[in-house]
Symmetry: C2
């Protein structure tokens, strides 16, 4: 733990589905994000940050628990987190830090566990459990399809109420106004349909999700005044539906789109080939789709950047810029047609690489301000970083990530040699059946060292990419005999990682030490406890 | 699942610290255990059964959850089981099977988790959680030292009340009568002190723990009549204190003791050498100690066998012999000086090998009755076996053991190639400090194939024993270059085992299948749900 004054607050900003290369500080030639760049200039930009989960649920649960997917067990979306997995709120709230959410978490109530323990899922007690430890100041998961499965969620959603208060009518204003355009004859053109991505969403920009989310974050911070807080500001965009309010729908055009990564000779790996058959992959492999969607994707990011400018200005003019640790990131990326894939369910850079910018306001971090750190960092490093910066005890028996504060303070210490990500496609029945895999043998694991990305598969050969010479991951060396040694080394890392998972979480290291002192063998014991092996 | 009529009841008999070679059916030349032998003749005796944990807490939690120690996380004694680890009672009780305990479980209430979830640890609701899912018909953990730490437990213990009712007075009748002898001058000679092992315990045999436990088991079974039940009959003996009531203290003498396993050239492995320094090891390495203790150890087992005779007679004369699955086992063994060690904290045969006898009363098991099965079986196979025999659904997403019923019914199926056990000495401060290991790098793991026992250590070279040519584990081949390939194969098994641990326990395979059907990509959907990647 650093020996400096702790920060007072933590602002944990997360976008959804934001690729790291869609920010100007990360190199985008056309998408200018001056406010996020401003944060990078005032902090450290991590160029090799990785999510542990790729899709929303697993990624976010890793962020909120500081543990790998194999540990927290939320292997896919809508899988409940075990109640005993401690989250950010569990660590911070006992120390008087109000830990709140504005936006998305993808938390799924663990109804089975609650029922077994006789806890009413609608009770006050269950609320933080249902919200993965956050006080849901505003819960907005930003997905309210027209379906009975979502009706209750939509009706209770703060954003639905907000839109109706602003005069937007209808059964599902989130869809009909914020995520749909208007056709020539006044018909609703759904944002679910990518062909409509280039049209402006019907909602006025000031009432859009991104602005609303920022408004409420500012409300929360203002409300807290000088009282310590941790705010998870969790934007749903640029996650689909890909549709943006004017003027953001039209800021970018075809000429601003990065060339796609489309290998001349794509890998013949069976799992990759199966994923290419998914509907979103087939669609995004078409130029028409990419060229329609990506400018809007960019516009949504631009809008976030504008709003963050507003937020940062507010922090600065309200004395919060210098007592708040700010972390900016994304839960995962988006293929957008790269590798002839859509969505994010594959462990290549466009999906598993994330932006990560950390601003520690304290003088001890001045030494690194404005620099780029290329070390391998993981989403699960966030929670340990918060604890460190806040001066709170680390929970070594549970947390699998590491504090980034020593990196920011240029304290040299041995760092991890590889980053890990996991994906389980058991839930994707078409892929599972196409590949003929049993339901518990559908996992892929990324072991990414400084130079190499190794992808292990249940039941299939691995994949291997030389990120130094082939940063676009065009050449799969997974079956090339010349790279057997490299593969073996990384398989060894996978083994080492598995052996290092923290599986003794119900007792702290401190308590183990205390007990060790009490039961010393062969020493006179103040209390005659259990006398083992005494003659 | 077998297609035969299910059994009605399950009787899960567990002794504590009983080595498998201390029964006549397992080959002991002098200790005759005709009743346990009778069970073996009426069922299957497994000659290669292994515990997953070696010491009481971890071993038993594996038995009760059907999961490895790395999964249930109870790495040592008095470590709480996560509340969400489902136990035998959780699986059976919903089907109307009264699931009860008579005897020891070593369950430790998970006070932290209960507190966090606002569950009063003294409430009715907490009771099954505190008792790892059992209805505590009689909880008797058989360890009530003279210490304030144990006063409440002792005072509330049924056995304490029972002894007082029989007229045994004093603050701690468990100690002063059942586990102590009387000196020439009427002084109490504690059973904690092994020098007193050869003396008779003061309690009358009919009031001793083993008889009391059997009495209460018979009471329970009689009470249940024809209603289905699962009884965990869990004897504390022959676990220390090593002291037996007359006549059992005197049935055996020095001439009945098996020759100890004392390698001429003991392994120089640092962890082994550290464990040799423990007080119980130093003591048991002395002939005087072994020769005093072992006859009493044998006497305690003899008493258990006599009592099981009583119990089996009762089952037969009360129509329970033919509708009850009976499993007889031990949680772990006892070195008793073998390898110059005491206790059980090391993964060699005397500690990690356990007796396991299974009697399935149904005709489909006739084919294997009276046979010996040499396949590698694990303690965690018990719970899946119960579910199978009772005709209840398996929980593939949680259970890591396998049903033994197909083995009993001679249904040929691929079986495991190696058995696993784990031990974590972080809690043994002297050993940890002597070896200079960090608190999370104190683990040893056994990978035992048909022929080889491979022991992996955090931070140290492995050990390797050729059980076919060296069943007494005298020759550690762990550093011998000639066996590099064998070691590598077993290291590969360890890796495979780690990758196979079940880490997606909050959602069943059935539910995953249901969801997979609902969210088929590219197919017309009855309800317009989340429309991903639709053009």
């Amino acid at each position: 733990m650093s020996q400096t004054q702790p920060v007072r607050n933590v602002l944990y900003i997360m976008c959804d589905q934001l690729r790291r290369d869609y920010l100007s500080c990360y190199g985008h030639a056309h998408l200018q994000t001056p406010n996020i760049d401003r944060l990078a200039a005032a902090g450290v930009r991590f160029s090799r940050a990785y999510t542990q989960g790729t899709i929303c649920g697993p990624s976010r649960m890793s962020a909120y628990t500081g543990r790998y997917v194999s540990s927290h067990q939320v292997a896919w979306n809508a899988v409940p987190l075990p109640l005993e997995e401690l989250t950010i709120g569990d660590y911070l709230r006992p120390h008087g830090i109000r830990t709140a959410l504005v936006g998305k978490t993808h938390a799924t109530p663990n109804l089975d566990a609650l029922q077994r323990l006789n806890i009413d899922p609608d009770s006050t007690q269950a609320q933080p459990l249902n919200e993965v430890g956050f006080e849901a100041y505003v819960r907005h998961d930003g997905l309210y399809p027209d379906s009975p499965l979502f009706d209750d969620k939509r009706e209770s959603a703060p954003y639905t109420h907000y839109l109706r208060e602003q005069g937007y009518t209808g059964t599902n204003p989130w869809h009909e106004w914020a995520n749909a355009a208007e056709g020539e004859n006044g018909e609703v053109l759904s944002g679910w349909h990518m062909r409509n991505a280039g049209l402006p969403a019907r909602v006025a920009e000031e009432h859009s999700e991104t602005v609303y989310t920022t408004d409420r974050a500012i409300d929360f911070i203002r409300e807290q005044a000088g009282q310590p807080w941790c705010l998870h500001l969790s934007y749903i965009k640029p996650h689909w539906p890909y549709i943006a309010p004017a003027p953001y729908h039209a800021l970018y055009g075809v000429e601003h789109i990065q060339a796609p990564i489309q290998p001349g000779q794509a890998s013949d790996h069976p799992v990759y080939q199966a994923f290419r058959q998914h509907q979103e992959s087939l669609n995004f492999a078409r130029d028409e789709v990419r060229l329609t969607v990506i400018p809007t994707y960019m516009g949504l990011i631009k809008q976030i950047d504008d709003q963050l400018g507003r937020l940062f200005d507010f922090l600065q003019s309200n004395d919060r810029w210098d007592d708040t640790l700010i972390v900016f990131t994304s839960d995962h990326g988006d293929f957008l047609g790269d590798h002839f894939l859509g969505e994010k369910e594959f462990l290549l850079e466009p999906a598993v690489g994330i932006p990560l910018i950390v601003r520690d306001p304290r003088p001890s971090a001045d030494i690194s301000r404005g620099t780029v750190d290329e070390r391998l960092v993981e989403t699960i490093d966030a929670l340990p970083t918060f604890l460190d910066a806040l001066g709170l005890p680390a929970a070594e028996h549970r947390l699998e990530g590491r504090s980034l504060i020593p990196l920011l303070h240029s304290e040299h210490s041995a760092w991890r040699r590889y980053a890990i990500a996991e994906y389980d496609y058991a839930f994707q029945a078409p892929a599972r059946e196409r590949l003929g895999q049993p339901i518990d043998r559908c996992r892929m694991t990324m072991v990414c060292s400084e130079r190499w990305k190794y992808l292990a598969y249940d039941g299939f050969r691995p994949q291997l990419f030389d990120l130094e010479n082939d940063p676009q991951e065009l050449h799969d060396l997974g079956a090339d005999p010349a790279y057997a040694q490299v593969r073996e080394t990384h398989l060894g890392y996978l083994f080492e990682w598995l052996r290092g998972l923290k599986r003794r979480t119900t007792i702290s290291h401190t308590e183990i030490n205390v007990r060790g002192q009490r039961f010393r063998y062969g020493e006179p014991q103040a209390e005659k406890i259990v006398q083992i092996g005494v003659w």
